[in-house]
């Protein structure tokens, strides 16, 4: 098994790409639940994951050695931002690519970056 980080990227101002994970009506299941069920059925282990608060809440920190620099905003100002992440474990890259392709963010038009984690389990 190899561990992968799925980095969800997209335009956070686009409503359909950044859906709120919890439905207003508490009886309704979150939008990622069908994905999680499908992955579980395939033997993909969902280690952890979360949707992030918008980049307006982000703080970037640098330490040059001489001083610590703190700035408002994400590390890179781009049209697309990191919206959330999932850590999964599966057999190989093909399986991770499949998991990414089925993720609600990918289905909504976002991009999912798939990165193997160093020293995988």
């Amino acid at each position: 098994m190899t561990r992968y980080l799925l980095l969800m990227c997209g335009d956070e101002t686009a409503e359909q790409i950044a859906p709120h994970p919890l439905a207003d009506d508490e009886t309704e299941e979150p939008c990622w639940m069908p994905w999680a069920r499908e992955m579980e059925a395939r033997g993909v282990l969902l280690v952890e994951g979360a949707q992030l608060q918008p980049t307006s809440t982000a703080t970037s920190v640098r330490n040059t050695g001489d001083e610590m620099l703190v700035a408002d905003g994400p590390f890179a100002e781009t049209k697309e931002q990191i919206l959330g992440y999932d850590v999964i474990e599966c057999t190989d890259l093909d399986e991770a690519i499949y998991a990414a392709s089925r993720h609600p963010v990918a289905l909504a038009g976002g991009v999912v970056e798939v990165r193997p984690v160093l020293a995988s389990v």
Binding site: D92, L93, D94, I97, P116
Partner: protein, 411 residues
Amino acid sequence: MTAAEAAVAEAFRQEWGKIVASLIRMTGNWDLAEECAQEAFAAALTKWASDGVPDRPGAWLTTTARNRALDRLRRSKTEAVKLQEVAALSAPDEPAAWGDSGVQDDRLRLMFTCCHPALTLEARVALTLRTLAGLTTAEIARAFLVPEATMAKRLTRAKHKIRDARIPYRVPPAHLLPERTTGVLAVLYLLFNEGYSASAGGDLMRPDLTGEAIRLSRLLAGLMPDEPETTGLLALMLLQDARSAARLDGQGELVSLEDQDRTRWDQAKIAEGIELLEAALRRQRAGPYQLQAAIAACHAEAPRPADTDWAQIALLYGELGKFGRSAVVELNRAVAVAMAEGPEAGLALVDELAADDGLSGYYLLPATRADLLRRLDRRAEAAASYRAALKLAPTEPERRYLTKRLSQVSG
């Protein structure tokens, strides 16, 4: 060349890909596989010269390469993972895996892994040439006009990605197979085209690349006989390659299809290409490569340019367009229509295309327009279009051809 050297050279062509593919499956280590295969061929050069060429050179090389891999892994058994590799290599049930079918499957695995979509197209082509065809890094670098260090870096990076991101070493499962097969065919066709009409530099053709592309396509068609597009691609390459001797004149100038000396076309390649194409078409699953091969066959079967069945070619381009609208295909259809129905009909289609932004920068658009205008004897307009094409033509011989045409309509 001595008999032993000739035998090693022949074995290299036949066995390199098989040996590397098997060693990668057994060790999971691409560098180790390549190095041990290389050492086995080096050993063969001295051993075969003194002891004679073995009865089964492939088996001799395979065993030698495998023993080298075992030795290396044993010597570096500090890591637990390496020990597992040694265990896997010396497993008692393992000889079966060296049977013919297993080895063939390994090459197919290798081909699909080299052409994985998670690698860049450049890396896919380079990796295929290195691991399957056995070209050296220096040779691949020369073929693609990049410094050897750049090519070495590209290959290393690709191999590390395969290892670290864990790209599986396998023939993809059924649900991925059609898409991935298309990807492998695309790499092989790109390789062929790079040899057939080089995208840069002074040479118009690189027969070493077309030769490798045909060899690998033959291998793939043999390994996937039920997939008509693999056979279609091989047929297409053979039918195009059959014309290569007539494509350049004595001065290395490009000769248009119309002006080529058809007696210089390779009839054996044409016959094989047509036979393969007919076998593929009998499966009744037409695809882009089979259609392109059918078009190439229309040209190959015409003894004189005037005998060409242009109406059939226009029809085939129409079918080809159904597999994905492409401006290049439309341009070729326009040429076929011009030949079948007259230059005006073709020119109307070309002018429709010229309005399309996707084709700006494609030198064949103004070049085709110029040729049609020349046939209509609209010389000033033809000259303007030849000048526009000249600005965009990628290689020297193409520029010289256009210059010659320009002087004909300007004179």
